[in-house]
């Protein structure tokens, strides 16, 4: 994983090693799903910022670029104005942002949609509603 994505401030592990803080940006137009995904991630001790649109996510990422502290983006697929797929393409098409893992969520299990997202560079595609096991499996894979 690219260390430049991680915060310089850190917490300590049980063995006394410095652990980088993991900051997740969650994007969903549904306030219910934002609350749910944020809660699941915070239970796993991740710092979470939520926004309700792809446009706001890109604005925030632009502001955060200097700090380079977003470790993962998790976004809903179906959103008005900019879908999660369009957001994924913007991120993967950006020199500054393309290394950030992007995970897509959707309430619909559409194989064609899933494969398109994975081909475009998504790390994973999760079916909503998310479960604690989805989040722990994902984060274990990406951050441990």
């Amino acid at each position: 994983m690219c260390c430049s994505r991680l915060l310089s401030s850190a917490s300590m592990s049980a063995a006394g090693e410095e652990l980088p803080e993991t900051h997740v940006l969650a994007v969903d137009d549904s306030s219910v799903d934002r609350a749910l995904v944020a809660h699941l991630l915070r239970r796993s001790k991740y710092r979470v910022t939520t926004v309700d649109s792809g446009r706001k996510a890109l604005e925030l990422l632009g502001v955060m670029l200097q700090e380079r502290n977003v470790s993962m983006i998790i976004t809903d697929f179906w959103m008005p104005e900019m879908t999660g797929f369009e957001l994924l393409k913007e991120i993967k098409g950006s020199t500054e942002l393309k290394e950030i893992p992007v995970v897509i969520m959707s309430s619909e299990n559409v194989p064609n949609r899933i494969s398109r997202c994975l081909e475009e560079g998504a790390e994973d595609f999760l079916i909503k509603p998310l479960q604690p096991s989805d989040v722990s499996r994902l984060c274990n894979r990406l951050f441990r």
Partner: protein
């Protein structure tokens, strides 16, 4: 009323909600996510659901009563409602949304209007039952009791 009686009422109410399929296992997942650091998590998420749903139902009513109905817009609203109802375990609301989406896809206005009435009915029923459940929870806690584990 004694704490035990309140707790029994709570058990009866929540059992009925699951038995009558107002709620499904996703609601249980929400309850399991609630802990001492987030003691009001379920109420907070359900409150967001109520706010979202009322906005979406108003938007749907407006969309379906336009002179030229935009079924794609209506479908987008129903999709959102289906998603948030699934996220809190509102099974009957979610199930009506499935039929509702089919009507939107077919451009079936009569079907859409019937589904709108049905989803409003299911939502109103669910809301009143959940509000009663949360009121009972407050009474139990105020009386010094704790919520039974199901």
């Amino acid at each position: 009323m004694a704490v035990f009686q309140l707790q029994q009422q709570w058990v009866d109410l929540i059992s009925a909600l699951f038995r009558e399929e107002f709620l499904d296992s996703q609601f249980t997942q929400l309850q399991q996510l609630q802990d001492e650091s987030n003691p009001d998590f379920v109420v907070e998420v359900v409150t967001l659901f109520f706010e979202d749903s009322e906005r979406l139902l108003n938007d749907l009513c407006s969309t379906l009563h336009q002179r030229v109905v935009d079924f794609k817009k209506a479908d987008a609203h129903v999709h959102q409602l289906k998603g948030s109802s699934a996220s809190i375990g509102a099974q009957r609301v979610k199930n009506v949304c499935v039929s509702f989406r089919n009507c939107c896809e077919e451009g079936n206005l009569e079907g859409c209007l019937a589904c709108l009435q049905q989803v409003k009915h299911e939502y109103t029923l669910l809301k009143s039952k959940l509000e009663a459940l949360f009121a009972l929870e407050q009474q139990i806690v105020a009386a010094g009791g704790s919520l039974p584990t199901m």
